[in-house]
């Protein structure tokens, strides 16, 4: 848009110059400026690329130095552990269904953590987004406050809250649930408010004229407009949260991750357990990814995404 305005402005200048009788700049000058611009641009891109390559190479070296095992030493060992686990699991393939059944309750717990925290997070995120969008906010002056609120909630990694809450509440699903819900609320609050900004304000005006309260305006005029996008983002978050809840289990917050850490600690001889958990986790993630992407496609159909 700005570029068009500038172009119109330029044209106007040339036109005025033409009316004044002075001549517009000739083709040669235009070409020279263009070539100079291109060269300058190339120089900058080249420099940026150089800086990027330097950062990557030196970053890699630093990371390699500070790692316990080197990259080149470890590279050929990458397959060893999976091969060990898989071969042992293959030897005991008869016991795998039993083991998977044994860990099924943990899997349910992991999914439950993700689902509850997504629902709670989405509800808080919805409120935050409505309160921090211009035109919809109940208290327009407090918009920056709610924005910062969701920024901070989004910035806190789940593990921080989870570890602190595990200390206070003891292990189990609740700390993970609260931690993920807080992060989800912040993340969805931001995404939702981007959607809400594009909501049509006319239905709100219509409802306002009938004397509707803020809550009524939001539920009847705004929600129906933004619901498909909200649900789509929430489903996307659910996918992310399943992964997060598995990872948090690994640091002590119940569910499949916790069982994985325990089974890993036993080492060889119990790899059947680890393999069963790997399969469950992989299957769950792929299943919910597919399910939610199908739903999301249906929801956002015809919206030109």
């Amino acid at each position: 848009m700005a570029a068009v305005l500038v172009a119109i402005g330029r044209f106007g200048e040339y036109f005025m110059a033409y009316l004044d009788g002075t001549s517009a700049p000739d083709v040669g000058t235009i070409r020279d400026t263009y070539v100079a611009q291109v060269q300058k641009r190339r120089l900058y891109s080249g420099l940026a690329l150089l800086v990027f390559v330097l950062l990557m190479v030196s970053g890699f070296n630093v990371a390699d130095d500070r790692n316990a095992g080197g990259f080149w030493d470890g590279l050929h060992q990458v397959g060893d552990y999976p091969a060990e686990v898989l071969s042992e699991a293959w030897e005991r393939r008869a016991s795998l269904p039993g083991l998977m059944w044994k860990y099924f309750p943990s899997l349910i717990e992991t999914i439950n953590i993700a689902a509850v925290s997504t629902i709670i997070g989405a509800m808080i995120g919805l409120l935050l987004s409505l309160l921090s969008t211009r035109g919809l906010a109940k208290w327009p002056r407090l918009i920056p406050v709610f924005r910062r609120c969701s920024d901070i909630m989004r910035a806190i990694p789940e593990i921080v809250i989870a570890l602190v809450l595990i200390f206070v509440l003891g292990g189990g699903p609740v700390p993970a649930m609260i931690a993920i819900a807080i992060h989800t609320a912040g993340a969805l609050g931001k995404m939702f408010s981007e959607v809400a900004e594009n909501a049509d304000l006319k239905p709100i005006e219509g409802l306002t004229s009938t004397g509707a309260t803020w809550a009524q305006r939001m539920t009847l005029a705004v929600l129906p407009q933004i619901a498909p996008n909200y649900v789509s983002y929430t489903l996307l978050r659910f996918e992310i949260n399943i992964r997060a809840s598995a990872i948090l289990g690994f640091v002590g917050a119940g569910g499949l991750g916790y069982e994985l850490r325990n089974s890993m600690a036993w080492g060889p001889g119990r790899f059947g357990e680890a393999a069963a958990i790997f399969i469950l986790l992989f299957g769950t993630i792929v299943f919910f990814d597919q399910l939610s992407s199908r739903f999301r496609n249906r929801l956002t159909e015809g919206q030109g995404q």
Binding site: L55, A63, G69, Y81, I119, A155, P157, I159, V160
Partner: protein
């Protein structure tokens, strides 16, 4: 003009409204039912018993305050004064806090009239306003007090150990030692530890005052003492944060560099062979589905703990995600530009370079920068698992269960780090592809 069949419209409208009503009441009902199930599945009712409120209070108060331990070893009568009771925070020989006085009888002023006197022969006297004076005598392994049977709840007394917690501080007496904790607000020794010559010197004096340490200039000495502070370990923390950001950076950028060529193979427009397309897509799905957690576990077996393992775990997972997003972006490329470039006689590679890349670069950059921010958070968590970066330091600090002020410090730093990366990636996106909207 035909009349509209009103009854049909009405009935269809009614069914629609019925359905909406069902949704409006059904959805909350389902959510409510689910929450009820969760209430029992997660044993929320039992949470009240498991939750330890004392821990929460300790955590909340310790994260912004510090305590000074005054310890008398009963056998030798030796006195030590130390911040947080740590060796690194000990007062140098012959020095002690200003609120401790006396030589034979050591008097500790805990403020507001709370006074603790360490008398000879391992006797201790605690003056508590509005209560009286508590005296305790340590003999062998037994502690005897003048308290009767009626003991208030802020005193915890047994034969072996007596703990008195007042507003001013806490006194613990056992047969072997008497410890007095005096609490203060703020993070003490955050700048300099006691052995540093700059401890307790104001910023004005450091900047403009006379030289404090003969060997070093004031600013250089102060910066180096702060940087090498053994209590707060600013240098290690800076390295840890650097490691975390490095993991996110290497992982994200490496994934993008690997995913871009693969995405061409997975996009219908650029990859004519169905088999290759399907294989690449399944590969993306696979590495995405295995998830960062399992990759971290597998890779740390091969590479050992450290930032490189974390970076590689992020790299592998995100290669799948980026591959998917990039190939979708490539499918949506406008073919007119490519035709235009082709009409000038461009070869295939040139067609990609000038016809395709300029179209997809904004989408790709936006995604990469968005992932950089989200991966900084992931790197914190992965670091806690593989052992690298600020995530590891945080986990260790929480597991020791006593350095809550350090936990508070790390949490603040992590939030600042993530917000900085968020701001930085937004800024870079603005510079590279223009502002949104």
């Amino acid at each position: 003009m035909t009349t509209v069949d009103i009854s049909a419209v009405k009935s269809s409208a009614e069914t629609l409204i019925q359905r909406k009503r069902l949704m409006a009441f059904g959805l909350p009902a389902i959510v409510l039912a689910y929450f009820t199930y969760i209430f029992f599945a997660f044993d929320i009712a039992g949470l009240a018993q498991r939750a330890d409120l004392d821990k929460a209070i300790t955590l909340a108060s310790d994260s912004w305050s510090h305590k000074v331990h005054v310890t008398r070893t009963n056998r030798t009568g030796e006195m030590t004064y130390a911040f947080e009771g740590e060796r690194k925070g000990e007062y140098p020989e012959g020095e002690r806090p200003a609120w401790v006085s006396g030589t034979d009888i050591i008097e500790i002023d805990l403020g507001d009239g709370h006074i603790v006197r360490l008398l000879s022969e391992n006797r201790t006297e605690i003056v508590v306003p509005n209560f009286g004076t508590i005296t305790a005598q340590a003999e062998g392994r037994i502690v005897t007090t003048n308290l009767g049977d009626d003991i208030p709840d802020w005193i915890n007394a047994s034969d072996r150990r007596v703990t008195v917690t007042t507003d001013g501080g806490r006194v613990t007496m056992t047969g072997t030692k008497t410890e007095v904790f005096n609490y203060f607000a703020g993070w003490e020794l955050f700048w300099f530890t006691l052995e540093s010559p700059y401890y307790g010197v104001g910023i004005g004096k450091i900047l403009f005052g006379p030289q404090i340490d003969a060997d070093r200039s004031n600013i250089a000495g102060a910066v180096s003492d702060w940087w090498n502070n053994p209590m707060w370990r600013h240098k290690d923390i800076a390295w840890a944060i650097g490691e975390t950001i490095l993991m996110a950076f290497l992982g994200t950028m490496g994934a993008a560099m690997i995913a871009l060529p693969l995405a061409f193979l997975a996009a219908k427009r650029f990859s004519p062979f169905m088999v290759i397309r399907a294989a690449t897509r399944r590969l993306f799905d696979f590495v995405r589905g295995v998830d960062a957690l399992i990759w971290t576990v597998v890779l740390s077996r091969a590479f050992g703990p450290g930032p490189l393992t974390g970076a590689l775990a992020i790299l592998v997972t995100d290669t799948g995600t980026f591959g998917k997003i990039f190939s979708e972006a490539l499918e949506n490329v406008d073919s007119k530009q490519i035709e235009g470039v082709a009409s000038t006689g461009a070869k295939p590679l040139q067609r990609y370079r000038f016809g395709v890349i300029p179209q997809v670069v904004p989408v790709l950059l936006a995604q990469i920068l968005y992932f950089l921010e989200s991966n900084t958070r992931s790197a914190t968590i992965i670091g806690a698992i593989t052992g690298g970066g600020i995530g590891l330091m945080l986990t260790q600090a929480i597991q020791t269960q006593k350095d809550w002020e350090e936990v508070g410090y790390y949490i603040v730093l992590i939030i600042v780090m993530v917000m900085f990366i968020d701001w930085f990636s937004g800024w870079l996106r603005g510079r590279l592809i223009g502002k949104k909207g």
